[in-house]
Structure formats: C-alpha cells, structure tokens
Symmetry: D2
C-alpha cells in the first residue's frame, strides 16, 4: 500500500538522529510508580534508563509487573542516587511523603531535573507542612523554587522549572473544578465552598493495612479524615493564590470500593444570577485550549469510567437558579491526571515535548 | 442442663395459644420483596401466608430464593387480591411506583391493613406526585389518610393507621440526619442544607437495564438525576412539616458500585456557635429512646458495613466551629431501614408488637 | 388478634424455667468470631457471656461491631482462661491455627466443652499437621479424642464430644460434594478426583497483608498454593475414612474478588454408566434428612448468592454420559457452613438442642 | 538535548510518505468495539476512517466514549456497507453472532479484507454451528476460506487471508494452554482434559439483562452453560486439528464478578513421567518467539491483573509428579487477547505490519 522500505529507512534515520531524554523512576513499585513506568515505557521521546523500588529481593521490573514483558528490561533495586544521576537527565520521585525531601536536594545538586510525586514540595509554608504531615521539613530551602505542577495554572513556570511538585490527587480534581469560578471577578461565593470527594483505593497506596484489606473495603463506603486531610491546605493554598483572596474550603473525602478514580461533587453559591448554559460556556472558554480538561456540554456529567486509564479531567456543571447554587462534578483517574499522568505531562513541558506526547 | 421436656411442653402450649398475624407480600421477587420475605419468615409473631410476584412461570418462593428452603413453602404467582385478602390480615405492597395505587384501595376496602413500600402515598400533594412520577395519581382520595411511615417522626399515628406509606430510602437517611437540627428553635440554617447521598445498586431494583449492567457500574461512580430525583420533594415535604417552615434542600444522589447501603453526607450551617460534642449530645438526647437510631460518640462516623443487614441508622457528627458548619453522616441499609426493615418496623407498631420484633 | 397478656405470661414463665447454656467466644474480632457473636447473640437457647479479642485497646464488643448495639453488651479483652471458665459452659475457640492448641487443654481440664474453629485438631496425624502448618503439635494427646465436626458424617459422635474440631471451609464444600459418590460401593473413580475451588476473601482472615489489599484483589483472580494448601490433607483424611480406601485428590484453590462464599467445581469419573437424574436421585437420598444440605433438582446449579448469609450447602450435579464424567458444584458461605455456622450447628448437637436452632 | 527541528522535519517527511491503512469498525459501541476503536485510534500505521453502531440517536464516537476526546472525531451511525467500503481497506466486524454472516459477503465482494470478531466463521462445520448457535448458517460458502485467527497456530495463513475468524475468548486461553502438550507425539492424555474457566462480565457483552444486573453478579459466582457453551466445539475443532486426533474436552465456564479477564485452570494427565521444570521448558521452547505469549518460570502462575489491559497470554505450569497430572493456568484479557487485541494482531499480519504495532 506504500513503500515500506522507504518508511523503514526514514524511521531508522530518525531514531538515530533523535537523542531521547533519559529518565528514571525512584519508587517504581507503588501504584503511581507502576503507572509511570508503564507510560514512560511507551513514550516516544524518552528512554527509561533507571528504576528503583523497595522490594525484599532484587528483581527485574518486568518480573514485578509481568505486563511489561517485552517492553522493558531493567533491574529494580533500592535507590542509589549516584547510579540514577549517571543514567538519567530527569528523575521522577515517586517516594512516600517525608522521604522525597531527603533525596530531592541530592538530585538537584547533581543538576538533574525532578518531578516529585510526593507531597513534600507542594506546600509553600513549612509550618503547615509540619502540622499536617507531622514531621519537620528537612529541605525547606527548596520550597520557594519548587513549581506546583498543575499545567492549567502554572504552565509557563513548569517549562523552566528544575523541581516540580506534582499536585495531590484530590487537589487536582478540586482545583480544576473551581478555577474558572474563583479567578478574576469571581462567580462563586468564596466562603461557602463545599467539596464532597470520593476516591478509589489505589489513592491509599500499595500498603499492608488492615483497614485496606479487601473484605473491609468491598461492599463498604465511608467518609474519613474530616477536616484533617493533608490535601486541605494544598487546595486552600492554590485556590487562595488563584483567587487573590483567602479561600478555605469544606472538604470531606470518602473511600470508594473501586481501584481507580476520584469524583468530586462541588457545591458553590453563585454571586449573581446565572443558568447552567452560561456557567458551562464560562468554563469551556477558560479551558478551551487545555488538552486534558473536558467540560461537558448540556449539563452532562462525567463518570469515573469516562476518565479511567486516561489523563483527562472531566467537568460537568448544573445550576439550580432558584437556589442560586451550582453543582460542579469533576472526574479524574487518580493514578493518571491525579498522579503519574500529570507527572509525565509536567515532564513533557519541562523537556520541550508536545504536552500530549506519550498519552 | 435444664428440663427439656418442660420447655418443649411450654413452647407447644404457647404456640397453640398465640394466634399469629397473617401477612402477605405483594411483589415478593424484587430486592425489597425478597428482604421482606426473609424477615417475615423468621418473625416470631407473624405467619407469612401469601406472596405474589411477576415471574414468567409459577414457582415456589423457596425455589426462587433457595436460601428460604426449609423455612417457607409458598407458591409465588401474579397478585390476586381476593386470595390475598382471604389469607392475610395485613399486606405489604412491594410493587413498582404507580402500580401500588391501583391495588391499595382494593385491600383497604376489604378491611386489610397496608404497608405500601412504593412511593404512591408518600407525597401529600398529588400535583407534585404527578410532576415527579410523570403519571396522574389514581387514588388521591387516600393521600390524606396515609401515614408517612417514619416511626421516629410519626410513631403514634402509625400505631393506628390502616395505610402506611413507607418512606423512600434516600429520605430515611436524610431526614433522620437532619431532624434534631431543624425542629424546635432550629440549630441549622434552613436555606443552605446540602445532602450529598451515595446509594448501592439494589436501590434501583431488580431490572434489566443497560446502565445497571455489572460492567457499567463496577469500577464506576457517578452522580445522577441532579435536582430531579423524586425523593427531593419527599425530603422537602417532611423537613418542612417537622420544621414548621419551608425547607428546600440541595440533594445530589450518586451510584455506588456495591449492593447495599446509603451513606448521606449532609452539610449544614449552624445558626449559633456550637462544638462537635454539644451537637452530638443534642442528637443523642433526641434519639435516646429510638431502638434503631444510633448516634456515634466522640466524632466517630458510621460506615456502610456497620449497618449492612441491619435495621439501624447510624449517625456521625463533626463540627468545624471556625467555619460554623456541621457535617452529619448517616448510614443505612437501603433494603432494611431504607425499605423492608422499616416496613416491618411499621407493621410491628400497627399490630401492637414490640417494635424490635423480628430483627 | 390474640390474648397478648396470656402470651407474655407464658413467655416469662418459659424464660424463667429455661436455663440457657452459657457460651463464650475466644477470638471474637476475626471474621469467623464476628459471625459467631452475631449468631449467638440471637440464639434462643444460649447466653453469650464472654468474648475475647486481641485488640489494641479494650472495647465493648458492640463498639467494635456497631450492628450489635442493643443486642449485646460485653467487654472484649485479651483471652483469660479462668474468667472464661467461670462464665461459660462451652467455649468456641476462634483463634489462629497453632494458638488454639495452647488453650484447648486448659478448657478441657476445667471440664468445659470446646468447638475449635482453628485447624489444630482436625488432622489425626500430627506428622502431617507439622508438615503443613510448619510447627510441632503441642497437644497431640487430644487428637484422638477430638471429633471432626462435620455433622453429615459424625453426628452421633459430635453429640457426646467434649472437643469438636470444626472443619475447614474448603473441606466442608469438597467433602459434602463427594461423600455420596465415594461411600459404599462407590460411584466415582477414587484416583482421578479434581476439585477446582474458589473462595471469597474473608477466608484469609482479617489481616494486614499487602496481597490482600483491596486494589490487589479487586478486578483480579488467581490460583494459589497449588498442591500445598493445608486443607488438602484434611480432605484426603476424611474422604479416605469415608471411602475406606486411600483417596488423594487434586485440589486447586483460587481467590475470588468478593467477601463471602466458596464454590467448588468437582470433576469425577463415573465407574458405571449413569445419567444426571440418577446421580441427583442418589445424592438426594443420601442427604434427604440433612437440614443444611440442599441437592438441586433437574441439573440446576447453586450460586454463591443462594447460600450467602445462610448455613446451607447447595449441591448441583450434571453428568456427561458420553464421556463418563460428572461435574458436581457445591456452594457454601465460608463464614457460616464453612466456619461459624457449622460451629453453632455442632454446639446445638453437643447441647441437645434442635440442630437448626439459631438459624 | 537534540535537534528538535531536524526530528520534526523527518517526522513530517515520513508521515507524508507513509500512506496509512484505512480501517473501519462495524459495531463500535459494544465492549469489544470500544477496545478496537481505542487501539486503532493510536495505532501508528492505520487511520480509523469509519465506525458504526446501533445507538438510538446519531452521535460522534468521542461523545459515546468521552475518553476518545481529542483523539478521534467520527460520526457513529448504523452500518452502511457502501460507505464503509468507500472509506476502508479493512473492516473489523464486531457484530453479534448471526449478524456478521449477513455483512461479511458484501465486504468480501467489494474486495475488502475482514477480521470478523463474531463466531460466524470460526466453526468449519455448519451443522455444528447450527446446533450451538440455533440458526442456520447463511454464508456457509465462505467457511472454508476463513482462517481461524490464532496467530500462534495459523500465522502464515493469516498473512494472506481476506477473511479472518477471530477466535472466541475462552478458546484463546484454552488452546494456548494446551497446544504444546497435544501436538507432535503429545505429552497429555487426550481423553481426560478438563478446562475450568472463569470469565469477567464484559465477555457477556453490553446488554440489558436481569442476570447481568450489577446486584445479581456482584458478591456472586456461578458456573453456567455446563457442556452447552458454544465455545466447546470451537476448542475441540482446533485441538483436534492441532493434535491430528479427536479431542473432546470437559469445559465448565464460570462468571467472575469483575470486568475483564479469563483465567483457565486446565487439568491434564501426563503420558509419561515429567516434572514441573521439564514441562515449563517444553512450553517455553514452543512459545519462544511468540510476542504475546509468556510462559512463567519456576512454577509461578499468572493472575488476571498481570494481563489486564494487555494483549498477553500468561501461562503457568505445575506438575504433581506423584499423581502424573499437570495443572496449567492461563490468563488473558478477554477484550484484548480474547477479542479486540487479537483482532488487531491479525490485522497487523494481514497488512504486513510488525505484529506488535499498536500495543
């Protein structure tokens, strides 16, 4: 149907000329790390050259995740900074909170770029970090320079950042759902925002914990960490910055008996009369150029299965004009737009790739 | 260890002297009907004498529900009013909405007591019924006499009622969560109540419907029927009656990928300063004598598994004093306290039994 | 409708005359323990006077399991043998394997009856116990006296036993599915029996274990412990005893992503020509008087939901006459007929109650 | 890091020179159709130019499957053969059984290549087709020419075929698990093969059916269609052809409460003594060059999550030498290697692409 030899020749030539970005994943065996490895293994512009993980025994990454067989062949050992620096231009830190901040400075010092998937560089105020994560911050000196990795807010800063703090899963869905209504003049009353969020279980990480045992979660549903979740100050910080006025939300997370996805139902009071169509139009305008945000038309609402295994954030909107309230529903895959996907989106920006490469 | 023959003799004597209440279940093959049959089959004060169901072929009820084997042996055929009247003193109508109102008058005319599990007699205003259920009401003459079957609100009226309209599943969880805060002087701002409710799938009935196919619901979560759910006017009607002032809530239902249970997260603004302990104390006082309402102490929150397969409504409370808001979480088994269990609780009251008999 | 005062009088009289059996549950906070407590709390012939559990902090049992509220009020502390002996006539040991054998002798010495839900007294040969459970047996002297608590096999012995070894969950479903075909002349080839078994997750206990994390089990399915499961020698022991000839089965367990139930698909070769109807008739005859075994008619097959939350074992049978093989499907609730339910059935026999009391 | 402009130039040049294959999907709105669209939308060598579906209203495919937004923009209307022929070189027929055979001849006549995902061209014997699918075959004249699309068996024939009959999901897992043991001299006794298979619910299609309602399937597990499943003759046909002797298996399918995946546990008798390592080595040799078959080393077993969302077939093996039996466990994603993935693998062969393109 076409000249195969010509194409093969071009391909070869192209591959030789294209020096790919060498990247590594520290903490590859958690749920987010696994997704990072999966995306990076087929990303056309990077070579995954290094992975680390805290497994009992050494293993090849394709043995730990059998579906990588044939796509990747790398050892997976405990993190060694020097080796990682030797092999990578950019490193994803998919480490537990409070661990990332011990390693990030070492990579930065070696001139490497970092996307930190942990919470360690998200909060600008180290006092708030300590209040919510219950440990002193060990690398506060880098907090100012770290860029909060929500491309829809900080795209230009991310392009030139050395250290990107990848947003939390709940904050991603919450902030994207509220941004168009709180910036500028502001359509929403800033003092009465309620976010009722529901997350799948992978959000809690790959842990041995009785409360996460299948039989405890399956056929169950519950609210947890009311008013105490460490994502609350993160949401408040970013909404406050975007609104240029103090915002403090009511946020209640719940645990869904499913693997992937966060659905946030957001309740806001409208400052002036507005119907569903008008509010949707406002959101669609704000997000018109965003490759990974989809505002639903006609009052349709996103469901978790619409976004599962994708880097999209779906947003649906309904206004009850008689009560003057709007309900905004956002849906993301917590492991992708809520973690690994957004991290790769950030890397794409940092490396000058197309923002959608690899998806 | 004790004189078995004496006990056996007494048992026999007692059984002979105790004429049990004969009851029937119309619509025994739906999820609520199945639960009704299961409870009634082991209820110490009733004899289940009649069941009907809309199955293709005639079958014994214990063939349709194999776990009833050895506990019950009844034919299950399409509903015949005369036969049911001959065999029963009280009939549960577990029929689809809009069907109950065709049969209820016939049973009432024959002097039978009815617990109607459908929505047909819950709304006092037939215009609202028609707006939300999209059919004219065919038996509006009985609306006034029907008692809304929430024992925590109408216990005394239920005792003497001939026709009890068993509450909807969402309204049960919502109203019980709000009652203590809206009655009397009223602790909550009546104009800003938000109810974010999440229901298991049995709430949708035993239906052939593409959107209820396992693969559509499993690993999925969504909001649905925003501002349009027919349970909204039911909640508003009862809260308004209890508060003696107009209440109109914001209510958003969601579909959970699990079989049983409704968890409602309710957001209210407090009219005066109050902390968590004080609000809990207020609720505990209101519900102190309720056999099926449990207000959790110390800010603990109910989970669906706490109430599954029980007739309890669990209520948990947290106040964010700085914002002046309270979050109230209620949990029920939608098939029990939200349907069949509450129906039997109502029957117990109507027949003069202990309210907890059969549970 | 009847003389309520007469009934109440009789009830009172009866209750006074009936001295109930005092029972305790050691290990009440596991899944089996929880079910034991739930059944015993409403069992008409026993008083649950003692529970123990290995919780971090002391708690009332109704706080640990909120649905027991109003039905039970007992402290739940670490096991104290003397207190348990003082308060109970019979004790259920719902302790981990290898722990039961440390406590059973103490209760037996104090003259108490025991139903041991662990595996410690099931295998008659302590060498096999040590090979499969990897610890020496510490109370081998009681192995001979312990009665294997499968009422369908050992009903008369159980009635007079002091120590009943409650069968494992897999063996219950497997043995009941095979018994009628291997006893007497034997309809099945004893050398080619294959048991493909699938269990819900509660069978693994209430544990903090990474492989039991919701996200690992949900949307997953796997075979495990091929040829190594400690229930294999238990099945072989009992089938060999029943058949009066050596039987050694091929047994492969699998982990189902659901809470409750074991379905076993059993493949056997028929020694002589026989059709589905004839084999069903043979099974129905064998189990005609069994209150908790239901052989399905007409080639119908049991499903897990038929037996969930019940003490039944459902058995379905199909013969492929052309190949000379039969497929037998058995279904049980692993926590009831496979554990707590069967334990109470055994207690009923030991105490001279009706075998079905409490169900 | 490298010359971006050079790469972009090469890319452009290459894209212009590479005329892609135009493909269509008839029946794009079922589960298999959805997966086909998803894979083809990002396949580097094809352009998806046409999709059809039986939806009530016309819609764009990216509205039906929101996660395709930005990747695809095509109308989805009822199938029109002429339009499809105009737009496509190759068409996937993802239509219900008995519907494909009405359309396939029209496409073939127009000179189009077809991958038929239905069952219509799998069975060579139209009498057997009629016996199992209960309709006469309407296009028996093409049965001989149709190639059974299992690349591991018929790779060379597929390359030149015009009509490929994509294998059923159960047969794919069963045949791949048995092939190395039945071909040539044959390691397995051909008369005693037992296949105990368990499938996720998407295998039943996107249907409105009471028995597939979430609440019926969730927390349930059952065997179904014993000895009657239409995949039985398909398995027998291909095993018989491969073994060059009559094979007739015992096959019992079960329904798993999860979305995706088939795990088959296969029991065979070994004709001569052999241990686990030797049998694994034999399998690894047979499949050494297969890009999508992975034989696990060391007795490890595949789980469904190892293969979910991939085109792999995982195979694990254990031998019980004392009994002379082997257990072979195979795992596939029923929508990928069991349907859409294998269909694209076949297309890759038919079009001369790399077999792994698009995965």
């Amino acid at each position: 149907m076409y000249s195969l030899s010509l194409i093969k020749g071009l391909e070869k030539e192209m591959k030789q000329s294209m020096k790919k970005l060498n990247v590594g994943v520290a903490g590859a065996t958690g749920y987010t790390g696994e997704e990072l490895v999966r995306i990076l293994a087929r990303h056309p512009r990077v070579t995954l050259t290094y992975v680390s993980g805290k497994e009992d025994r050494e293993a090849r990454i394709q043995e730990i995740f059998p579906s990588l067989e044939g796509k990747l062949d790398l050892p997976c050992k405990p993190l060694e900074v020097q080796e990682a620096c030797r092999k990578c231009d950019l490193v994803f830190l998919s480490l537990p909170h409070t661990v990332s901040m011990r390693f990030a400075p070492l990579f930065l010092k070696a001139g490497k770029k970092i996307v930190d998937v942990s919470a360690d560089y998200r909060l600008k105020n180290e006092k708030i970090y300590e209040a919510f994560y219950r440990v002193p911050h060990e690398d506060a000196s880098h907090l100012a320079e770290a860029v909060y990795g929500l491309p829809e807010l900080y795209r230009e800063k991310i392009r030139t950042a050395d250290l990107v703090a990848n947003p939390g899963c709940y904050p991603t869905g919450a902030i994207l759902g509220l941004l168009p209504g709180i910036t500028g003049a502001g359509l929403f009353d800033a003092d009465t925002i309620v976010i009722d969020a529901k997350s799948g279980v992978t959000g809690a990480g790959r842990k041995a914990e009785k409360s996460l045992n299948f039989s405890e979660v399956n056929e169950n549903f519950k609210a947890y960490k009311l008013f105490e979740h460490p994502h609350v100050p993160e949401i408040d910080q970013e909404l406050t910055a975007a609104a240029k006025k103090k915002i403090s939300v009511v946020f209640v997370p719940h645990l869904l008996p499913l693997n992937r996805g966060i659905l946030s139902t957001i309740y806001v009071r409208l400052k002036k009369k507005m119907n569903t169509a008008a509010l949707i139009a406002h959101y669609q305008k704000r997000y018109a150029k965003e490759p990974f945000v989809k505002v639903y038309a006609g009052g349709a609402l996103p469901e978790l299965k619409h976004v599962a295994h994708s880097n999209f954030c779906g947003i649906g909107i309904r206004v009850d004009a008689s009560k003057g309230i709007a309900v905004i529903v956002t849906a993301i895959d917590n492991l992708l737009k809520g973690a690994a996907g957004q991290a790769v989106q950030n890397m794409n920006l940092m490396a000058g790739f197309e923002e959608t490469d690899g998806f």
